[in-house]
């Protein structure tokens, strides 16, 4: 039987209250939302917080809100909510692509976008999604609020810029016209960690060439978008040859490790092939959005 080590439990009532509790109990306290990463780690004693601060009652962090040219998503938004949101799917189809393959449907009922990003597992899908969509992370502490681009939010595996007395409250996604995005993952079975995955966001110019693009990889040894792939795409007209070139750039840039999910050359192959596929789909979606006007 796997049982966490003893801890004290407290339920936060508001964001301000959660921040007070974090300040009071210090670095030995941990925030729990869905708990589907933290509780297994606590059972294995990989994590032994003295205080667990439950933020599941912070309904103020559970929202999806269009605000001008931004889509604001509260950190406590569940995976299931993101998956089922028609607004999110219309603006950022990559989110639905990714959510369909995050864990399994029952786990998605509990897990949250904020929890996934803060866990910062190298095989975690929404980090790649947020990277390619150029999301911003809204982090609050007792001293106030700061807004970071994803490049500054990430600090490597299992680390983020969120301090021990801070709370990730919101993600903000810029809404751009003539855009398309897509995500695809290879996993051994439902709910397993990714063997590899790729995400892409493409923004077309009015003449149909690529104005800007971002390609990101999951579980393939990169924690930032593939700049080389974006460089290949910019200013060009999307076609199979271009997708192949970007795929080769992604394969060259990634840095996978061999494990029971596959050897390095197979994972490089995935980086290449999945990059082509997500670019193909993202460009088709952007073109369709242009036609709809």
């Amino acid at each position: 039987m796997q049982i966490p080590a003893p801890f004290d439990y407290v339920r936060a009532t508001t964001v301000d209250n959660a921040l007070e509790l974090l300040a009071r109990y210090g670095p030995e306290s941990r925030v729990v939302a869905g708990g589907h990463s933290l509780l297994p780690m606590m059972k294995l004693r990989l994590s032994r917080p003295e205080w667990l601060i439950d933020i599941n009652d912070l309904y103020e962090l559970d929202f999806i809100l269009r605000d001008g040219n931004k889509l604001r998503v509260g950190a406590l938004t569940r995976h299931t909510t993101l998956l089922e949101s028609e607004e999110v799917a219309a603006l950022f189809p990559i989110v639905r692509d990714a959510e369909q393959v995050i864990a399994d449907p029952v786990v998605r009922n509990r897990g949250t976008i904020g929890g996934s990003l803060c866990q910062a597992d190298p095989a975690e899908d929404l980090s790649t999604v947020c990277d390619v969509l150029a999301a911003e992370a809204v982090i609050r502490g007792t001293g106030g609020e700061r807004i970071l681009p994803m490049a500054e939010f990430h600090r490597g595996p299992y680390e983020t810029a969120v301090g021990p007395d801070e709370l990730l409250c919101e993600l903000r996604f810029p809404v751009r016209p003539r855009s398309g995005s897509a995500y695809e993952k290879v996993e051994r079975r439902v709910g397993d960690w990714a063997v590899g995955a790729a995400g892409a966001a493409v923004f077309l110019a009015e003449d149909g060439t690529v104005e800007d693009a971002a390609v990101g990889l999951t579980a393939l040894g990169l924690d930032h978008p593939v700049a080389e792939a974006a460089g290949v795409l910019r200013g060009k007209r999307p076609d199979e040859g271009l997708f192949a070139e970007a795929g080769r750039a992604a394969a060259a840039a990634c840095n996978p490790v061999a494990d029971q999910r596959g050897p390095v050359d197979y994972k490089r192959h995935l980086a290449d092939e999945l990059t082509r596929r997500v670019l193909r789909r993202a460009c088709a979606r952007a073109a369709a959005q242009m036609q709809e006007g």
């Binding site: 966490p4 003893p6 801890f7 297994p40 439950d54 864990a103 399994d104 029952v106 509990r110 709910g191």
Partner: protein, 184 residues
Amino acid sequence: MQISMTVNGTEVTSEIEPRVLLVHYIREVLGLTGTHWGCDTSNCGTCVVLMDGQPVKSCTVLAAMAAGHDIRTVEGLATGGTLDPVQQGFMEEHGLQCGFCTPGMMLTARALLDKNPHPGDSEIRQAISGQICRCTGYATIVRSVQWAAAHPAGGAGEDTAAGDAVEGTDTALEDTAQDTEVKA
């Protein structure tokens, strides 16, 4: 710490350690052993219960986190002496062999049908994709859920198919009773 929650419609209050997982609270404190405890790592899904109507893996929820919420276990599926159509469906279509995954499967099926009364086979398979049947009886599980979808009133339905089903069930129960006698 003291927690209160609603379990199968009844308000319960207990004094527990914060580290007690919901599955152990349900089984050991409340004595409701219909909820099974399997892998302990939120992979197998046999511990699924409904929390505010949504399936959750109770080995990865603290009892403390469930406080104030509405929990439904397999014991809460039948109403009065009448089986939920999902339970009836698992009997009609042989949705179980060893029965270990069954409580979780049935609760996920109940939640699916509450949301989507006429799911396709692929939607059923998707819904139970976080749950493992090591008898590999997935085909019959899908058929069981489809039976429940086709018989929303369960065995009490007025159509012929449902009437036949009730007779079949009676036979099955008698068989079980005979088996028990023989073994005794």
